[in-house]
Amino acid sequence: MAQGRVLVIGGGLAGLAATMRMAELGVAVDLVSLVPVKRSHSVCAQGGINSVNALTRQQGDNEWKHFDDTIYGGDFLQHQPPVKEMADWGPRIIDLMDRLGVPFNRTPEGFRDQRRFGGTLYKRTAFAGATTGQQLLYALDEQVRRYEAEGRVKKWEFWDFLEPVLDDAGRCRGAICQDLVTMKFHAFPADAVILATGGCGLVYGRSTMSMVCTGSAVSRAYQAGAAYGNGEFIQVHPTAIPGADKLRLMSESARGEGGRVWVPRKSQDARDPREIPEAERFYFLEERYPKYGNLVPRDIATREIFDICTTEGLSVEKDRLCVYLDLTHLSREMLDRKLGGILEIYEKFQGVDPRSVPMKIFPAVHYSMGGLWVDYERSANGGMEEGAVRNQQTSIPGLYAIGECDYQYHGANRLGANSLLSCIFSGLFVAPSIVSATGSKPASAESRLFEAALRRQEQRHESLLSKRGGDENPYALHQDLGSLMTRVATVVRRNEQLVAAYGEVCDLEARWRRCSLSDSGNWTNQNVVFTKSLGDMFPIAKLILKGALLRDECRGAHFKPAFSMPGIAATDPVEQRREAEQWCDRFEENTRKWLKSTVARHGADGHPQISYEDIDTSLIPPRPRLYGLVGGDVIEEVWKERGQRQATGVAAKAAVAVGAGV
């Protein structure tokens, strides 16, 4: 049995999967969470979890294709070995969750049912109604409760992670956390610290994320020296329900089960949508993307919905941008059985029954593809080496990151139903690495390290509490930050706006220093906790903006019109080929320049220092992402010919080399 004590921060899918696996391997776990772990944001995931399955396999699917879809969907911005490993683990993970009692929907014969999700042509997505995230989380929560009852796990719920404690050599030796009820600080010495703290949606004010997704834990690790990867890649989900306090998700599964997106052809057609005849409806995704239809990858669906409302002026309403997501042609019985959970949300919050009236939806910030930079060790078969100490380790030795808060699996755009997989996978997979890391060296961090860190945190806390007479309101500042980020760093990005926004964020940060607290008490003070996390949003906002500013290209969710590569305009075949050749030249040049991870480090001056890291694309060579591009078929043809020429060229050279050797 392994020994040691590990601190896990965050009890969503990733944190719970890691905790369960480590407890099983004999490691004692302290599990810290802002909320009771059963209330973590993973509960909001709706649609399902992807994996190759018995059925798709017989239709020609395999792990490699799932891997390829994920890489292609992510526009090649991921190191490939970890993604390959994840796709390989998919079937095992679904089986495991099935054994843990997740009530997956069933076929008449009693097998797990699957549905189709975006960015693939196979029905890979297993689901439990439309609350799959909730069901997966509960299954892991139950297993962790079982280990807790056996004394192998200790939960610290309503606790906030404040900083990792590093020794003189820069190794993480534990962390400082705060009790959100008593406001007391506590030092947690640990052999390793694992961050599983999710995304940073609150940097955008309102998003589909829960109120705990502030990004503050990740920001604190970043400010302590951990590198942050691909921060500018933020997924904007195509379909959400606008709301005053939150933009509630309307799952991709609504389209996976046959939901259709449309707008009236006549702008702001005042008729009841049900009265508008088929011929006067514009099913723009189906028309423009005949192959994938309503299930194009999310970045593309989002841009199309955004454009149809803004550039093309076809928003359903004049003052509020939205399009129809229509389920009314589907049977109520099927809808209740497969989508009940999300339809209830719409009905409850909008007061309209989506089974009989088309929903009105619009894109919303949804997922952080970027996150803490983490390492991996490549295995002989091109995957990840199980148990290697480097797997999921941040740039700070001893500090690990898993789940949405790492940057590793989704590149420039995440495919629907891949996040639940990456969370559970990284959680399970990190455990043996932690065992390897803790087995060798017992933790003997000097107490002075913890004392100094505790003093630092107490001082930060006291100085916030004692701030009187400041003229700034943290809640109002947060709204300003959110609208600014939403305006400049979501669907469409322009350099002049990003430059200006960076300055504005710095101003907001300066104003934050003048925040006055309305609660100076030391008992369950949510005011100071919020203000603290707001302060930690600025470094993240800055690295998102700077990363976006510097990246002069379009890739996945990062779209800059000034650098877009439009399709082919010519109609004459010869001219078309010439344009396609030029297009491919430009694509190759862009790949050389920009197919790199953005790596941000927190500078001493408070500004992010950006560098770039090459990507391991050794398993699947990068190719143009041509979903629905005009002239895409010609480009694809030219691209394939180039590939063949290159392959023959390499073979010819190899033959020459062999000849010379003789």
Binding site: L96, T131, A476, G521
Partner: protein
Amino acid sequence: MIQAVSPSDAEHDSEPHAAAKTVHVRVLRQDAPGQESYWERHAVPYEPNMNVISVLQKIAERSRAEDGRQVAPVAWDCSCLEEVCGSCTMLVNGRTRMACSALVDRLLEESPGEIELRPMSKFPVVRDLKVDRSRLFHALERVKAWVPVDGSYDHGAGPRISPEEQEDAYPLSTCMSCGCCLEACPQYTKIEAVRRDDESEADFEQRRTAAFDRGFIGAHAISQAVLFNGHPTGRMIADERLASLTAAGGIQQCGNAQNCVAVCPKHIPLTRSIARAGRAATVWAIKKLFDR
């Protein structure tokens, strides 16, 4: 450049309360455990589509009571804001429910003029509307609400399950541990343990857990026991669950008031679960009698 849909330009100009402009709120506050509670009035500008969460967010932002006094923000729990995490349970206009799905327009129809917010009464108040529901989670441990798998190593798929069984189990599995059923239950009474000065943290925990163990287990946990006793692997420890369901604080304490099922925000058939558990417990008790 997603346009933040500002609530003011939404489509509800014709709403009955749009003219009211101000929402009046009465909050029952308490600064800490053991302190006196007190009422405080707030007024926030009305917006279409508001829910209780956005009202509380505005109260926090203003930090002023209706009379203009500066006050600390009201403390409350919330997270997902879409009624799936179970955090934001409170008494809204006297009824236990989730603050996120409590829409202001409907509340004002229920009781024009003012919205009343109180903390749940069956759990100790931590501060204001925030209560300590650890007893609720402890009850899940009491009934061993988990599938006792060998471990996480690969053993292939789980058992085959018919669509009917899945459709039976799924609703029970959507229980989000919000505690509405417990708040509404006449048999569920508050247990508030206070740590003594001479008591260590560990001794206090032990004493508190013992008190929880004597208290009524609650509809949510009974329903979870039924869920796991219905699962092909889960039922391998069915007897252990039935033992805890028939121990002190068990299912025999249920008075069949049926309030639980009436207030459940997820419409979980809790009384059906209780009936099933009751039958199973009786059969089990008789069997145990003969096995002696």
